[in-house]
């Protein structure tokens, strides 16, 4: 009799626990859903509103100039800016990251790390104004170079911080393994640590590139804008998709708004095209 009572008690207790567990799972699930709904909303509305104009204008939309109803120069501009910014920012960023990894306790190392963290959160519009002050005004015109340098400044902290963190994650034993074979400091960092931190560093580069390819603010005072011809000279003004969207949205004309949506869709596609394949390729890397 007593045993059965205990049994009943035990079952009730178990049931309460299961109910609690289910409620918890439901709560977590629905909250997650609420968080990602806006993301889906953005993607869906961009596709819904952007797709018709792209279909309507066809290849012209992708390759044509603005007056033909296309955003070709803007796409080229974005690619050019991103490429140049990466070219300029990457080596510096990588070295800065490697430095703050190797000398975490030195004054310069600590300062570098702190500055990078600050730069990560730096208002991007200020970067634009800064570059305008030191480059655009002396040179007398907007230019792709100025835009790229502004973007490079934004890219740098991402790559640096990710590089530093990815390197710091490599177990100490690999570093020592390098030294034990007679490597110098530089050889250990560039031949051992960099290779092993490849995944993290590449993630940083990708995030940095994705970030700068979508930036508007730093380009406002630096890149200028160029939508009727393709950019050829990095010292000339250049357009960019986000900049174009910004300009078009301010225009009162409905057609301009439509093109803006199309441009947004193109940007989304570029972003995903950049991100997904490399992300996927990196997945096969053996995790440490």
């Amino acid at each position: 009799m007593l045993a059965t009572d205990k049994n009943v008690k035990y079952t009730t207790h178990k049931r309460v626990r299961m109910i609690k567990d289910n409620i918890f799972l439901f709560l977590v699930g629905s909250l997650t859903l609420i968080t990602i709904i806006p993301l889906f909303h953005i993607i869906i509305s961009i596709v819904v509103k952007g797709l018709p104009i792209i279909i309507k204008n066809g290849t012209t939309f992708v390759f044509g100039t603005l007056s033909e109803g296309g955003i070709g120069p803007a796409i080229a501009g974005t690619l050019m800016l991103t490429f140049l910014a990466t070219l300029i920012g990457l080596p510096l960023a990588f070295l800065a990251g490697a430095y703050s990894y190797e000398y975490p306790n030195s004054f310069i190392g600590r300062t570098t790390k702190m500055l990078l963290q600050i730069m990560l959160e730096f208002p991007t519009i200020l970067v634009g104004t800064f570059i305008m002050g030191i480059l655009v005004i002396p040179m007398g015109s907007f230019s792709a170079l100025a835009g790229a340098i502004a973007l490079a400044l934004i890219l740098t902290p991402y790559v640096s911080v990710y590089t530093e963190e990815a390197m710091a994650e490599i177990p100490r034993i690999y570093k020592e393994g390098g030294y034990a074979l007679g490597c110098t400091r530089a050889q250990v960092i560039f031949k051992v640590i960099t290779k092993m931190a490849k995944k993290g560093i590449l993630t940083g580069i990708l995030i940095g590139m994705a970030k700068v390819s979508g930036e508007t603010a730093p380009l406002l005072f630096t890149a200028g804008g160029l939508y009727e011809v393709y950019p050829t000279n990095p010292l000339q003004p250049v357009g960019a998709i986000p900049l174009l969207i910004y300009t078009l949205v301010q225009s009162p004309s409905i057609e301009d708004h439509q093109i803006a949506w199309g441009a947004a869709l193109v940007m989304l596609i570029i972003f995903l095209a950049l991100f997904i394949p490399i992300r996927y390729a990196l997945k096969d890397e053996i995790k440490l």
């Binding site: 393994g177 034990a180 031949k191 051992v192 440490l288």
Partner: protein, 252 residues
């Protein structure tokens, strides 16, 4: 008959203000296996890292005393530490092959030290893998990522990588503590084989391992070298009570 390859004279070491090693005088005989045993935190690994100056990497470490390699103090100012580490190689507690192919792991050291010739590198790879008793297991998949090997194979690869730079002394820091018993015995056999050509110093938590493979044993306790002698002497008739207590498991 038995010549001294390395020797420490009154070696003291501090981590910051805390002294970790006290007046260590320990000879390392050529082509012999010297085992260092003792409870955790007794300083045996720290001591091992003094022998190839790996402690240099820790900025708070201060060292006093001599470590002689073939009669020269390795802490002298004019010693090239990178060359020293080439002569005194090291195998670590956990297998640490680099995330690259087996081939690249072995050639990594030789390349660093300036060997570029492909045929020569091929030769070194084959030689080192054979020496480490790994050749037969991996000869058909030298381009496979080293991290896909089993733990025991990885550790033998690390040994191969170490001997590929042709060191004179091999330091081993608990080389089998992360391995299963069979892999452990394989490594032990390998060490006995390697001792014919190299001088080996091995730190081990496993007293039985020390007894099985070593020719000389040093017992560390609280940063002091309590006893150093032939392994048989240490395990059959230790001179110090602390040593006896430790090896017979009556410690603490």
């Amino acid at each position: 008959m038995e010549s001294i390859k390395m020797e420490t004279n009154n070696l003291n070491l501090w981590y910051g203000d805390k002294q970790a090693l006290y007046d260590i005088n320990l000879p390392v005989y050529k082509n012999k296996i010297t085992a260092l045993i003792g409870p955790s935190g007794c300083g045996k690994s720290t001591f091992l890292r003094c022998l190839n100056r790996l402690n240099d990497l820790i900025t708070t470490v201060k060292i006093d005393g001599n470590v002689m390699l073939d009669g020269r103090n390795i802490y002298d100012e004019d010693v090239d530490v990178y060359d020293l580490r080439k002569r005194v190689g090291m195998v670590f507690q956990k297998p640490n092959p680099f995330a690259m192919s087996i081939y690249d792991n072995i050639t990594f050291g030789p390349k660093i030290h300036g060997i570029k010739n492909k045929t020569e590198l091929d030769k070194i790879v084959k030689w080192a893998l054979k020496k480490a008793a790994l050749w037969d297991e991996v000869k058909d998949e030298l381009n496979k990522n080293a991290l896909s090997l089993s733990g025991g194979q990885q550790q033998r690869l690390c040994i191969a990588r170490t001997i590929a730079v042709k060191p004179e002394v091999i330091l081993m820091d608990e080389p089998t503590s992360a391995l299963d018993p069979i892999s452990t015995l394989k490594i032990e056999d390998l060490m006995a084989e390697l001792a014919k050509d190299y001088t080996i110093v091995v730190v081990t938590h496993n007293m039985q391992q020390a007894s099985r493979i070593s020719d000389y044993t040093g017992f560390f306790l609280m940063g002091k070298l309590i006893e150093f002698d032939k392994t048989e002497k240490i395990f059959l008739e230790p001179a110090h009570k602390e040593t006896e207590d430790y090896i017979s498991g009556r410690f603490g």
